[in-house]
Symmetry: C2
Subunit: 553 residues, 2 copies
Amino acid sequence: MTISPLQQARYGYTPKLPKMLRAGFDGIAVEEGAATEAASDKEKIQALFPNTYGMKEVYFKEGANTAEKKKHIVGVILSGGQAPGGHNVIAGLYDALKSANEENILLGFKGGPSGILEDNYITLTKETIDKYRNTGGFDMIGSGRTKLETEEQFEVAAAVAAKHEMTALVIIGGDDSNTNAAVLAEYFKAHNTGVQVIGCPKTIDGDLKNDDIETSFGFDTATKTYSELIGNIERDAGSAKKYWHFIKLMGRSASHIALECALRTRPNICLISEEVEKKAMGLNAIADYIADSVCSRASLGYNYGIVVVPEGLIEFVPEVKKLIEEINETLAKHGERFTKLPTWDEKLGFLTAALSVESMKVFNLLPMDIQEQLLMDRDPHGNVQVSRIETEKLLSNIVRNRLQQRKQQGNYNGKFSPLHHFFGYEGRAAFPSNFDADYCYSLGYTAFLLISYGYTGYLSTVRNLAKGVEDWKAGGMPITKMMDMERRGGEDKPVIKKALVDLEGKPFKYFEAHREKWARESCYTYPGAIQYFGPSELADETSMTLRMENDEF
Amino acid sequence: MTISPLQQARYGYTPKLPKMLRAGFDGIAVEEGAATEAASDKEKIQALFPNTYGMKEVYFKEGANTAEKKKHIVGVILSGGQAPGGHNVIAGLYDALKSANEENILLGFKGGPSGILEDNYITLTKETIDKYRNTGGFDMIGSGRTKLETEEQFEVAAAVAAKHEMTALVIIGGDDSNTNAAVLAEYFKAHNTGVQVIGCPKTIDGDLKNDDIETSFGFDTATKTYSELIGNIERDAGSAKKYWHFIKLMGRSASHIALECALRTRPNICLISEEVEKKAMGLNAIADYIADSVCSRASLGYNYGIVVVPEGLIEFVPEVKKLIEEINETLAKHGERFTKLPTWDEKLGFLTAALSVESMKVFNLLPMDIQEQLLMDRDPHGNVQVSRIETEKLLSNIVRNRLQQRKQQGNYNGKFSPLHHFFGYEGRAAFPSNFDADYCYSLGYTAFLLISYGYTGYLSTVRNLAKGVEDWKAGGMPITKMMDMERRGGEDKPVIKKALVDLEGKPFKYFEAHREKWARESCYTYPGAIQYFGPSELADETSMTLRMENDEF
């Protein structure tokens, strides 16, 4: 491996800890708050977590450490998609664990949750950890998407933990992984395994967020990376003055990424899936909304602009949702016959017969490559892979059609030349920003504090994040406090509620108050590349979303 | 306009000048070297430039300034695509001009070369300049693609220059624009207009390079931006371990961008158009070359990887070139009839009859969306818009077919899941790196020195760039020295030769010596985001290409 100059420089970065943790492991005391209750469906959740329900909130503070002095053997798992800072969670965990007792051991289970099921691990050493400090990616131990959720899996995990004489397991993941961490904690406790489970909130999507989690890690770095690119494209568009750029960003269920990037870069248009769903905006309404901006800018002489959309958008558009369902159903029944049809026109004929008239109308609106994507790229369950659909092209196509109509009616006289982008993989493994580097290191450090003080079924929490690091507050929250019951796959399940964009929240309200002006004028802002050095107001600032939600903007 | 924290911080950056220019305008003397000759076709070029041929090379040095003290009114034009640093050329020019004489005036012609033809300009003030220092984009005065090349245009330009009592015009552009700058300089001199013309070497493509131009500005920043993204994707790929990323980069005629990014990030595969052309590699050879890497990595358990290709690649693949020519010809003749064919299958039937058997075979290899692109997106001359063709998808498709064959033959047993990216607009308007900020400012400053010392038909040159800024050498070179005669549009024309990737040069040789290992193993390097602050070896380092070409790597 060749080390780039930035990687070399980042090795020299010491993540900042909250002031309350700076006294060192022996100088950190614990304080308990009130007992907690589930977010809703309290009785049902209490019944499902008889051993771990109703535990108290936990805070750390300066003071004599009263944790039981025993040797800890801790396992750690990275679960799901990459998010910048994952390596720093492990580094913080490792440093706390070793500062408590040099004989403590940290095991890294490889390739995600399947690592513990297959007993596939490495013992993490200083040498390994040092190679990954303040770097992006999850490649130190790898990640994976296996879900730890069945009784059989828990038994295997317990056996592996017992074999290694493990005292605790730290799971770094999103809402599903932390839900499963709580269920596993309950299982371990119920079966007297002596193994504690602690979760850490990870996801670039920003949808693992609630009263106790101000932001998930990785969101800051990923959105800064996408905002760099959007800003660069804005500046290019305003210089070349000839393209409309349609930019799709990751974010399937929630649109936090798109909203944050819009707040940073002020594009002409940003669509928010939550709003599209709430207003039941169809393709026509969306096409008109964008075309209105194109037309009003054209009338000012600006035949260029920027449209930002979240990846998941089209699943929230009523008639597209219906079309996708009908195609899924048709291909589930007749897939083999359909695939054998030798020509494209025969396939179209088949579809025309099989789909509803309205859905076929929608289908015919789509550009040919997207029609193909809807029919060809299917996941193992036979469903359309929505993330593969080039929503950005679909939108520019319906806008183009709309503009042609307006031109014929004499209501538009501009030029419309669209270009398309999708940003996602570019940001998931970036070097963590100072914010994410500090936040993640603190989360990992706090996770070990929770372990040492004997807690299980807790999420490591670091709060007051919109303030300077010295004022951050580290602690722990019972995962069951964040839960309610939801219908998933035909069953009622306890889950951590996914945080969608709050249409009444301050970030969206700010966007809503400004977007009319942004749509017409060029209010572009150019954030540029993430800076790890330089003035603190540049290198240490965090997301607009977090700052606005905490009245720091 | 809202100013981002980085933009605010960059306003505070003072570009570094070469030591020889640090004494201030009054302390800079000139020295002339030997008379120059054209690169080849000397007599023909001398005949075309009777008034500006054979001038002497010029160097600047510390010493008493002996330039004639007169008031200067200088015009400046940005020509062609955006390149980071353009604003700094103008800032350097402005600062030198004002430090020579507060009464000097700088006019910015708007929207590219057409600005002088339409007499569309603004008078540049400190207030305007200060808003654009160290920022990306060309939006201070805009750019455009009009070519200044006809006698009629020259007459208009001369009239506009006379109207403003201009003493000089600075043209910031690529090889064509600087060629035209030389022709315009000759015209102005022949017609005794008293207007000097100075060129500045701009292009992110890096193909304006020769004995006298070590690199064009913008190349450094653009390739750093693309390398950031490629590195992030590499790290993501190595963490997720499930995708092959096909990444297309700008660079139509030359592959300097792809090569530089490959040197920085060490992807598994990087194709260089110059090599593909030289070896007459067809699609089959390319598919096999990539598939070999996929298979050898799969045998090591790595079902992921990175393929980098230049935008212009397929124009260098013999059979695709032929296919495109045949399609262009067919549609030129029968376009209207073809467009009216109601179904895709009828269009295919038409093509089958019209194209050669071999070309139809190539056409059938292509995925449907690329077939559509070849048939639909045409420029005003009826030609395929090659840059719109998703070469990255074309390649992954032929590789997939090849892998299926190998699987059937029992020679491959991996998984192949491709993802696609195109990076170009993301880098053209980025905040200039310290290198480009310093280089551009020095180019602009030097351009005014050339003007003040009375030179015309010169390119502003800053050399010794692989060393620290203090050792850079500023001067000027007659543009005719860089010229030879080429056949363009059926005529012999004097042009600055485009610099293609030299397959015998050090950057390519280094790549060639390492690529076999990179293809099999994961030698990824993660450059991360451009840093404007921090340690000098990080923030001030320049491109690998430049360093290797000058033995500084």
